[in-house]
C-alpha cells in the first residue's frame, strides 16, 4: 500500500513539473526567456484559491466532470507501471482497460464542454472526439504489438518481459514507437494537431473544451491534462524503454531507487517533445485524420512485421 501511495505522490507532483520542463525547453529552443519550471504549480495553486464562477444553465454534470476526469487520470497513473511493476493496483487492469479508462475521461470532458451550450465548447468537444476516435485504434494497435511480443496484455507484465529479456532488435517496436509518439502528440493536444499555448482561436481543440471552467474546476482540469501527458509518457516508457523499473516486491526502497532513472527518462522525453513541437508546424484540423492514419498504419505495419519476422 505504501509503495502504491508513493508512486501516486510521485506521479501527481511530477506531472506539472514535466509540463513546466517541456515549456522551458520549448522557450529555450525558440530563443525566448524561459518561464520558471514551477509555473504550472503556481497556476494550479492560484486557481485553487479563487472563487468558482459557473454558468447559470450548467447542470450537475458540469461540476462533476473535473473530479471524474481527474479521478480517472489518477487511477490510470496508479495502473501504469511507471516506477514498479509489482504494485497493488498495477494488476487491477490490463492495457485495454487502461485505454478505456482514458476514453472515459475524454467522454466526460466532451460532455461537460457541451453542457453549457456555448459554440466554442461544442466545437472543441467535437474536435476532441474526432481526434480521440482516430487515435484510439492506433494506440490499441501499438499496445497489441507489445502484447504479442510478450504474450500478455497486462502492462506490468509487458514491461517485465521486455526489461528482463536479452537485448534484441525489434523492428516492430521501432515502428510502433513512432506510431505511439504520434498518438501521444495527438491525444495530449500537442503541436502538430493542437497548439497548447493558444487561447480563443478558431483552431484550438483542447483549450476550447475548458473555456467555461474557472477556479478549482479549471485547476483540476489542468492538473488532469498534465497528468495525462505524464501517463502517456509512462506508457511509452513501459513499452519502449522499460529498463530501470523496479520489478521486485521489496517495499518502497527499490521504488525510491527507480526515481532518478524515471527523472532522466522524463527529462529526455520532454526535451524530445519540445524539439518535435518546435520543428513542426500545426496541421490544419482536416489534416489530422491523415496524421493519425499514418500512426495507425505504422502500428499495423509493426504488427505485420512482427508476425512475419518474429521480431
Amino acid at each position: 500500500m505504501l509503495t502504491q501511495a508513493l508512486e501516486l505522490v510521485v506521479a501527481l507532483t511530477a506531472a506539472p513539473l514535466f509540463l513546466g520542463w517541456i515549456n522551458q525547453c520549448r522557450a529555450w529552443l525558440q530563443n525566448r526567456t524561459a518561464p520558471s519550471v514551477w509555473l504550472p504549480y503556481r497556476g494550479i495553486r492560484k486557481l485553487f484559491f479563487k472563487d468558482a464562477v459557473i454558468a447559470q444553465n450548467a447542470s450537475a454534470l458540469f461540476r462533476l466532470a473535473p473530479y471524474i476526469v481527474f479521478g480517472t487520470m489518477v487511477v490510470a497513473a496508479a495502473i501504469i507501471p511507471s516506477m514498479g511493476t509489482r504494485l497493488p493496483l498495477t494488476t487491477a487492469a490490463d492495457a485495454i482497460a487502461l485505454v478505456g479508462l482514458l476514453a472515459t475521461a475524454r467522454v466526460f470532458m466532451a460532455l461537460a464542454a457541451m453542457d453549457v451550450g456555448t459554440a466554442f465548447g461544442s466545437l472543441g468537444a467535437r474536435r476532441e472526439m474526432m481526434v480521440g476516435f482516430l487515435a484510439e485504434p492506433a494506440l490499441l494497435m501499438v499496445i497489441f504489438v507489445a502484447s504479442m511480443i510478450s504474450s500478455t496484455t497486462a502492462l506490468p507484465a509487458i514491461t517485465e518481459h521486455l526489461a528482463t529479456q536479452n537485448l534484441a532488435l525489434f523492428p516492430s517496436l521501432a515502428f510502433t514507437a513512432i506510431a505511439f509518439t504520434m498518438v501521444l502528440l495527438a491525444e495530449n493536444a500537442r503541436i502538430p494537431i493542437d497548439n497548447p499555448a493558444t487561447h480563443l482561436e478558431l483552431t484550438m481543440i483542447h483549450e476550447a473544451t475548458l473555456l467555461e471552467y474557472s477556479a478549482r474546476h479549471l485547476a483540476l482540469m489542468e492538473w488532469a491534462s498534465a497528468l495525462k501527458l505524464f501517463n502517456y509518457a509512462c506508457i511509452g516508457f513501459a513499452m519502449f524503454v522499460p529498463w530501470g523499473v523496479s520489478t521486485g516486491t521489496d517495499g518502497p526502497a527499490s521504488l525510491l531507487a527507480s526515481i532518478p532513472l524515471l527523472a532522466v527518462k522524463l527529462a529526455v522525453a520532454g526535451a524530445a517533445l519540445a524539439i518535435i513541437e518546435t520543428v513542426s508546424a500545426k496541421l490544419r484540423v482536416f489534416r489530422a485524420p491523415e496524421f493519425l492514419a499514418v500512426a495507425f498504419l505504422l502500428a499495423v505495419l509493426g504488427l505485420l512485421v512482427h508476425l512475419l519476422l518474429g521480431a
Binding site: P171, F175, A293, L297, L301, V305, L309, G310, A311
Partner: protein, 222 residues
C-alpha cells in the same frame, strides 16, 4: 521464443525499413523526395547485401553489394536529380486516390503479399527466408505507386523501386542470382533509365507536360 542471431536481426531490421521506405514513397508527392527515398532504399539494399555476404561467406555477394552501391545509391539518383532539374518537375499532381486511401490499399496489399510468401518461404532453405514476404510486398507497393501516379517521372521511380524489391527477394530466397544475371539486370536498369530520360524530353516536347494522361487520347482534339 528462439533466439535470433544478431546479424540476422540486423537483416530483419533492414527488411522492415525497406518496407517502411516503400510506404513513405507511396505517400510522398514531391518527386525530389521520392528520388531520395529511392537512394535510401539503395543504401539499405547495400547494407543488407553486405551483411548477407559476411554471414554466408559467398564472395559474389560482395560484388553485387558494390554494384548496388555504385548503381542504385550513387549513379541512378544522380541521373534522376539531373533530369528533375532539367525538366523542372518537382511535384506530382494529385494522385488518383487520396493518400490515406492509398495507404489502406497498401496495407491490404502487404497482408496479401505476406500470405502469398508463406508457402514460398516454407520451401526456401535460406536463413533470410522470412523476408521474402517483405520483398514481395515492396514489389507490389511499388506497383501501386506506379498505378496511382500520373507523371512519367514518378512512374519510373516506382519501377526502379520495384527492381529493388525483386533484388531483395532474390537475395533472401536464394542468396542472390547468378552473377551473370545480376550484371544483365543492372545493365538493363541502367539502359532503361538512360533511354527513359531521352523519352521524357520527347514526351514533354510533344505534350508540354510529363502527365501520362495525355497518352490516353490518340489525337490532340477530335
Amino acid at each position: 521464443m528462439t533466439r535470433i542471431p544478431f546479424d540476422l536481426q540486423l537483416l530483419n531490421l533492414c527488411a522492415a525499413l525497406l518496407l517502411l521506405l516503400s510506404f513513405a514513397m507511396l505517400a510522398q508527392r514531391r518527386i525530389v523526395v521520392m528520388v531520395n527515398l529511392l537512394a535510401m532504399q539503395g543504401v539499405l539494399l547495400f547494407a543488407a547485401t553486405l551483411l548477407l555476404a559476411w554471414r554466408t561467406g559467398e564472395h559474389h555477394l560482395y560484388l553485387s553489394a558494390a554494384l548496388t552501391l555504385a548503381l542504385k545509391v550513387i549513379f541512378l539518383p544522380w541521373i534522376l536529380h539531373r533530369l528533375i532539374r532539367r525538366l523542372q518537375v518537382y511535384w506530382d499532381t494529385e494522385p488518383l486516390l487520396n493518400i490515406s486511401g492509398t495507404m489502406l490499399v497498401g496495407l491490404v496489399v502487404v497482408v496479401f503479399a505476406f500470405g502469398l510468401a508463406q508457402p514460398i518461404a516454407a520451401l526456401a532453405s535460406t536463413a533470410t527466408r522470412s523476408s521474402i514476404g517483405i520483398a514481395l510486398a515492396v514489389v507490389l507497393l511499388s506497383f501501386i505507386t506506379m498505378i496511382t501516379r500520373r507523371k512519367a517521372m514518378s512512374q519510373v521511380i516506382g519501377f526502379l523501386s520495384m527492381e529493388n524489391g525483386l533484388f531483395f527477394g532474390a537475395m533472401s530466397a536464394t542468396y542472390g542470382m547468378p552473377m551473370i544475371v545480376e550484371f544483365g539486370v543492372a545493365l538493363d536498369v541502367l539502359v532503361a533509365v538512360l533511354v527513359l530520360g531521352i523519352f521524357f524530353f520527347q514526351i514533354r516536347e510533344q505534350f508540354d507536360s510529363l502527365d501520362l494522361h495525355h497518352f490516353e487520347s490518340l489525337k490532340e482534339d477530335p
